[in-house]
């Protein structure tokens, strides 16, 4: 079954296909969330939000999925869970009353964030393998000393310069993409 079949059926609310999506994908998502500080209710919630997010995006943007539907759904669930964990962490750190945002507004914000993430990742995959490799380590917060050890570069200064150049290239690619215009002020 190709991804457009699932996208169309999901948007139309075809209960049989939605049940099939659950049957194929839910256990993997559940396992991921349970292994990453979440509970059964979180897994249910994230899975439902992800399906709704994909349906809404398909309605508005007519999204095309390059990978399989299952892989894309899993990525959306994973990112929604990253988002939730991040929000929980912020709520604890700030220890303040966070203004209640409506569910619809929060779901809409999650879409914009997912779009931004997809754009960044897509552009990261467009730069040279060497740049991608060094930036992946950099964004994973691996220290410069460790980067020197696992690459052919001789010193931290050289790595810093390389990171700077690669990041500049990545930034140019992102800012050149017209999708970035609508995400700029967010």
């Amino acid at each position: 079954m190709d991804s457009s079949f699932y996208l169309n059926a999901l948007e139309k609310g075809d209960s049989k296909v939605i049940s099939r999506i659950y049957k194929i994908n839910f256990s993997q998502v559940k396992r991921f969330i349970l292994q990453n500080k979440g509970g059964m209710e979180d897994a249910e919630d994230i899975f439902q939000k992800a399906l709704l997010q994909i349906a809404v995006r398909h309605r508005k943007e007519g999204i095309v999925i390059k990978s399989s539907f299952d892989a894309y759904l899993f990525t959306v669930c994973k990112n929604l869970w990253r988002r939730e964990l991040n929000n929980r962490k912020t709520r604890v750190t700030n220890n303040e009353i966070v203004e209640q945002v409506s569910e619809a507004r929060d779901n809409a914000s999650a879409i914009i964030e997912q779009k931004r993430h997809e754009l960044f990742l897509e552009k990261l995959n467009e730069i040279s393998d060497n740049c991608k490799n060094i930036l992946s380590m950099f964004f994973a917060k691996i220290s410069y000393a460790e980067i020197v050890e696992s690459t052919e570069y001789n010193s931290e200064t050289v790595v810093r310069q390389r990171v700077f150049k690669c990041k500049k290239k990545l930034t140019e690619l992102i800012k050149k993409d017209e999708r970035y215009n609508s995400l700029r002020e967010l």
């Binding site: 948007e11 609310g13 209960s15 939605i18 049940s19 999506i21 659950y22 049957k23 993997q28 396992r31 991921f32 292994q35 990453n36 249910e44 899975f47 439902q48 399906l51 709704l52 349906a55 809404v56 309605r59 508005k60 399989s68 299952d70 892989a71 899993f74 990253r82 988002r83 964990l85 991040n86 929000n87 409506s102 569910e103 619809a104 507004r105 779901n107 809409a108 914000s109 879409i111 914009i112 964030e113 931004r116 993430h117 960044f120 990742l121 990261l124 490799n133 930036l135 992946s136 964004f139 994973a140 917060k141 810093r160 310069q161 700077f164 990041k167 930034t171 609508s182 002020e185 967010l186």
Partner: protein, 262 residues
């Protein structure tokens, strides 16, 4: 943007500045618009592309968010939300039925096995032992990793679930050319070979795992015993099972049970 400012922003985002430097940094953000813009973009990059964080939107009243919000509030999407909820409830019912069916099935299978053993003294069905113990669905998942080969591994895991073992092997070979420190990669590859009846290849992968310094190297013995059961080499299977039991390796209790059956 010069490299000094770039490093400064990075140090702020990594929380490596002193209190005084932080104060100075925040003051500069308030007064230097270009610097502020660059900082916001860098922050988005940092948070989006780091697996442990997430880049949230600051301006939740932006027009694009309003547009999506309107769709989320539409009657059609509210109805869809209900359909999705119902599908979730249905899934719970189905899985309960499936568990009951599975238990009944297992009970029946046990009964048949007992009957066969008592009345016919039939030879042990090594295929059944293999199938009951390989537990493909219980293999550790790759999905929580954060490394460079993460995407390949998730893809391989999904293909494994779809039983596309040949493709799994190709992907895992690619992973192994880059990193050799993940014992699960060896296990998935070996099992993919076993499922394809490529026993020699599976044996060689498991031998590599056993000889490695990896923490899960001992699992190699357990899977080697299953490999020999599947390929009907009972003598060799018994030897591997014995090693597992004697050294209290991974799954030694199960190994003991199988040894009794053989």
């Amino acid at each position: 943007m010069n490299i000094e400012d770039d490093i400064l922003i990075e140090q702020f985002l990594r929380d490596q500045l002193s209190e005084e430097e932080k104060q100075f940094f925040l003051e500069r953000i308030d007064t230097d618009d270009n610097f502020k813009k660059h900082f916001i973009f860098e922050k988005q990059l940092f948070e989006s592309l780091n697996e442990d964080s997430w880049s949230t939107v600051e301006n939740t009243n932006a027009s694009e968010i309003e547009e999506y919000k309107t769709i989320f509030e539409s009657e059609e999407i509210k109805a869809l939300k209900e359909v999705i909820k119902q599908a979730s409830k249905k899934k719970d019912k189905t899985s309960k039925i499936r568990i009951i069916t599975l238990i009944s099935g297992l009970a029946a299978a046990v009964l048949i096995l007992i009957t066969l053993n008592v009345f016919q003294n039939s030879p042990v069905d090594v295929d059944t032992i293999y199938n009951n113990n390989i537990e493909l669905q219980k293999l550790p998942s790759f999905i929580t990793r954060g490394g460079e080969t993460d995407t390949l591994l998730i893809k391989a895991e999904n293909l494994f679930k779809e039983k596309k073992y040949k493709e799994v092997i190709t992907l895992l070979d690619e992973v192994l050319s880059k990193e050799k420190e993940n014992s699960n990669v060896y296990l998935y590859k070996a099992i993919a070979h076993i499922e394809l009846n490529e026993f020699d290849a599976a044996e060689s992968v498991l031998d590599t795992l056993i000889k490695s310094e990896l923490i899960d190297a001992e699992k190699g013995y357990w899977y080697k015993s299953l490999l020999y059961l599947k390929s009907k080499k009972i003598k060799e299977a018994k030897e591997e099972l014995k090693k597992t039991v004697d050294n209290t390796f991974y799954n030694h209790k199960k190994a003991k049970k199988i040894l009794k059956e053989l």
